[in-house]
């Protein structure tokens, strides 16, 4: 006699509480206020999101720079089957977005319903969440302008 082996849905979950540090804190505070905040690196480049240490020289960074909530797609990939916890619950594009005033690109979801609607060089603008709390999810997604 073959026995039926049980199967059950399990969930593992844990919520970390993390301190942000001054610069990432400034970035998140900016998001809460509806602004995107980067910082000036040792070589003068504007890095977005703001980081605590220079990526080349490792020195402390402290000069915040506000950039636009609109920019250009530098590269992208289509996400046909979004997973739980991803920014959107329907197919969308993951894109690196170089915001106006920034020298680096930000990874973001671009809300287009078909991959034909996005390309490298597309102009996109942030769609802000209705309620902003100081989290990356304050940017609900980017939309093609």
């Amino acid at each position: 006699m073959t026995e039926e082996v049980l199967v059950a849905d399990h969930t593992i979950e844990y919520t970390y509480t993390r301190s942000t540090g001054p610069m990432i804190g400034a970035f998140l505070t900016g998001l809460r206020d509806g602004k995107i905040v980067g910082c000036r690196g040792a070589d003068g480049r504007v890095i977005v999101p703001a980081v605590d240490y220079d990526p080349v020289t490792s020195e402390d960074l402290s000069e915040t720079v506000e950039v636009a909530d609109e920019g250009v797609v530098t590269t992208w990939s289509w996400n046909d089957r979004p997973l739980l916890g991803q920014p959107l619950d329907h197919p969308f594009a993951w894109a690196l977005v170089k915001l106006d005033g920034a020298d680096t690109s930000l990874l973001a979801a671009v809300d287009v319903d078909d991959p034909s609607k996005i390309s490298t060089g597309s102009r996109v603008k942030a769609r802000w969440a209705e309620e902003r709390v100081g989290s990356i999810t304050d940017i609900a997604a980017f939309e093609v302008v």
């Binding site: 039926e4 849905d9 969930t11 919520t15 970390y16 509480t17 993390r18 942000t20 804190g25 739980l84």
Partner: protein, 166 residues
Amino acid sequence: MSETAEAPGPVTIVETPIHLDYKFTPGVAQSRFLRALERGEITGQRCPKCQKVYVPPRGACSMCGVATDEEVKLSGKGTITTFCVTQIPSPGLVPPYVTAWIRLDGSDITSMFLIQECDPAEVRLGMRVEAVWVEESELVPDLGNIKYFRPIDEPDAEYETYKDYV
């Protein structure tokens, strides 16, 4: 929080949840164990070589490396072999609460359970305890059917009977 809606302070702390949904398959031996729990019974499996009884059964003897197949039904009584009194809160538990490793009668390994209906100061090695189950209508194939263990009116077990499990 002293922050107000008009002038919130800078963000210094964030919560970053991690979450994973997955399917758990307990295998043949533990499926039998879980179905027994659904009937309100605790079962183990005996090793055909060393005769040790495993609860929960894993389908094989970890010492002898042979398959275990003989089902053994246990009484639900046991002996505390090690315990810990916890003074800090845990979800659903009010401190101080006691967790103990219990050697179930007829089993050759210990399992960890809550000890309740008992002053934590009274808990000791060798204390005799029994399983307290959920209502029959609430039985499911889950070890959570056993809510906790509570003391029973029996003399403490002799140290010799559990010394290898302390």
